[in-house]
């Protein structure tokens, strides 16, 4: 069954959803660019004038078909400065924003493993005779209750 699911997933994830249209390219570029006049919104989201003009520029570049998506982003970045990038680059201080979550993942995973290992070591051994007595007594009480 797992194999079947795996095969279906591989089939589904490798088949394509049709060719990218120009609009798809414009939108995906716009989603990676920050609107310079609004806090934290992308050019794709924002309705501000500055975002509108960047969208128009992106559409023009995509329409002319010369530059690739990355080149268009670099072009816009050079024209408007570093704060138009919505995805921090993985260099210098900015790399921390990627590294810290990865570190947090490793730390929390190893925490889980170690805590389970510790619990496994400290697991109570086989029940003592007194434990068994307690259980038997409880069972006996239960039985008499049901008889009533």
């Amino acid at each position: 069954m797992l194999l079947l699911v795996g095969l279906l997933l591989v089939f589904g994830s490798t088949r394509s959803g049709g060719p990218l249209t120009q609009q798809d390219r414009i939108d995906s570029i716009a989603k990676n660019l920050a609107c310079p006049t609004c806090s934290g919104e992308s050019v794709y989201v924002s309705r501000a004038a500055a975002a509108e003009s960047i969208r128009t520029e992106v559409a023009r570049q995509v329409g002319s078909g010369i530059r690739s998506d990355d080149e268009i982003i670099t072009f816009i970045e050079q024209r408007f400065g570093g704060q138009v990038l919505l995805v921090p680059r993985a260099t210098g201080l900015d790399a921390l924003v990627w590294a810290l979550p990865a570190a947090a993942l490793v730390i929390s995973a190893s925490f889980l493993v170690s805590v389970f290992a510790r619990w496994n070591r400290n697991k109570p051994k086989a029940p003592t005779t007194q434990d068994e007595k307690l259980v038997n007594r409880a069972l006996a009480q239960e039985a008499t209750k049901q008889d009533d």
Partner: protein, 664 residues
Amino acid sequence: MFAIAGISGTIGRALLLVGFVGAVFGVFAAVTGARNNDPRVIRLVPRFAMLAFASAVGAFAAMEFAMITRDFSLAYVQKVGSWSTPALYNFAAVWSALEGSLLMWVLILAGYTVAVSFWIRKRMQEILAAWAMAVMLAVLAFFFLVSFLPANPFALGAKGVLDGPGPNPLLQNHILVLFHPPILYLGFVGVTVPFAFAIAALITGRVGEGWLLATRRWSLFAWGFLTFGIALGSWWSYEVLGWGGVWGWDPVENASLLPWITGTAYLHSVLVQERRGMLRVWNISLLVATFSLTILGTFLTRSGVLNSVHAFSESSIGIWFLSFFAVVLVGSVFLIGWRGDRLRSPGIIDSPFSREAAFLANNVLFALFAFIVLLGTVFPLIVEVLQDRQIAIGSPFFDRLTVPIGISLLTLMAIAPLLPWRKASLETLGARLFWPAWCGIAALVASLILGAYGLAPLLTFTLGGVSSGAALRQVVLATRRQGWRGLVGRANGGMIVHLGVILIAVALGASNSYSKSQELTLVTGVPVTFANHSFELVDVVEVRDDRSVSVKALVIVDGDKIYEPAITKYTRVGINVGTPAVKTSLASDIYLTLEPPVRQDSDTARIKVFIKPMIIWLWIGTGLMALGTLLAAFPGRRRRRLTDPTSAPADRTRALDLISEKSS
């Protein structure tokens, strides 16, 4: 007219001061009463709470009065009031900017404080209850003080102002502004109640499970409102902002999501403590985190610090919230450390294949989730402080990191409800997974037939199938056993909430992955086809009223009805606001926006069309979550004392004593 003008300012300022004094006296009464064990003093606490609440109601009413009578002697009314704002939006204008929304915070917090003091009136003599009231009143005093000093909504404005710009245009063109902020605040502020009890438990050293059970419904209530408020916010964003999406990962949204994440983690891990007496430190930490994140979120979004670090000094509000945040955090950490010995629990989790282990994994994932959202939100600040350069972090970052977490959480949702407490054998798990697994396969096959592609959405659909199977299994088994009572209670109501979450996850997966959009230039009378839908421009018209000029494009979609995407220019503030038009169906939404530049009476219009699948299921899922929350809160158990232990960890020596006593 001018005789009235100004009077609401004087009354409002006076009431804020009275409220502050009442709250401070309440704190003193609660603390001294609890320390000296003096019932007469403790009896004063509800009265002071009542006084503070009455002042808050009065102050809020005074603000509404000032807004409704357009009392332009107040700076706040000058900022957000206008003669041309329609009555309802004018009513909501009270909470459309910083000072007014803090006033609403004060009102809601005072309401919670009185509600708690009423709820607990018979047990007020219990030291834990008195301390909890002290904490609540202390928080209330802080908010009164902020509202009185740095963010006073009743501050006088410049003289001679006769009219103002009105609220932000985005806050006066959809009815949701009346509901979204108050509901969100009911959630935000409601977190204070379980937080206060957690702190009281630490102070009194009664850290058993009593306080936790007692506040269970309060936590659920706050969480429910937070969920509902966030969903209303996304709905508003979808209906008003005109970019065709529901969630943009902007700092304000993140600030509301953060306490929701830690709160959700708490609602799960608290079950482990109730059942097994474990994770005490963790649960208290989660409550502290949730409460302090509401404060941090307010700091981040209200101080202007996110626009630029340098905006920080422009309003003094920032330093107040930052200091309060620091006090809460340091104080709580100190208390937890101080009570550390009492908090330690002897229990262990026996097996990674158990309900409690699944909850632990859930908590680790939620903690990671919160960490990522917090990091992405504050990282631009850190960079600006350290390197004096501005960067922005937006949805591509959050999407990339949170989608895997969402899928992992869905995986847990598929397995965890099937796991028994303590320990499961693989056979048990396998047997219980049988039907859910088939649901998952059915979902996968169905989505492949419908043309779905891409790993992340397909995983979402498959796991959504498995986890809805797991949730339904629980509900079906319970209703078979208990009839309608199988639908209520925490476990069953919780599963209904899960079904809502699954619907939302699937709808988000589909709408994020398979949206299509296109800009169309329409000419009147010439239908254009895009993605099997036809669009025909009928006319472009202009509508004027005394505050705005709208240009509307009348578009017939699929030869059926006329839709009217518009751009409205609010003449007073000179801001253009687009209003999308949406054709909704169960399968997908057709979302139209009018793109600038627009000219009236022209025979062409530029329209952007989004085809967004499954959007309506987001709102249906939200409804299901709300319903499930109500069901989870429903059944009434016998009331217990705050300090009663529910799952006293097995104390070995005492148990042995009992045995020897009995056998002798």
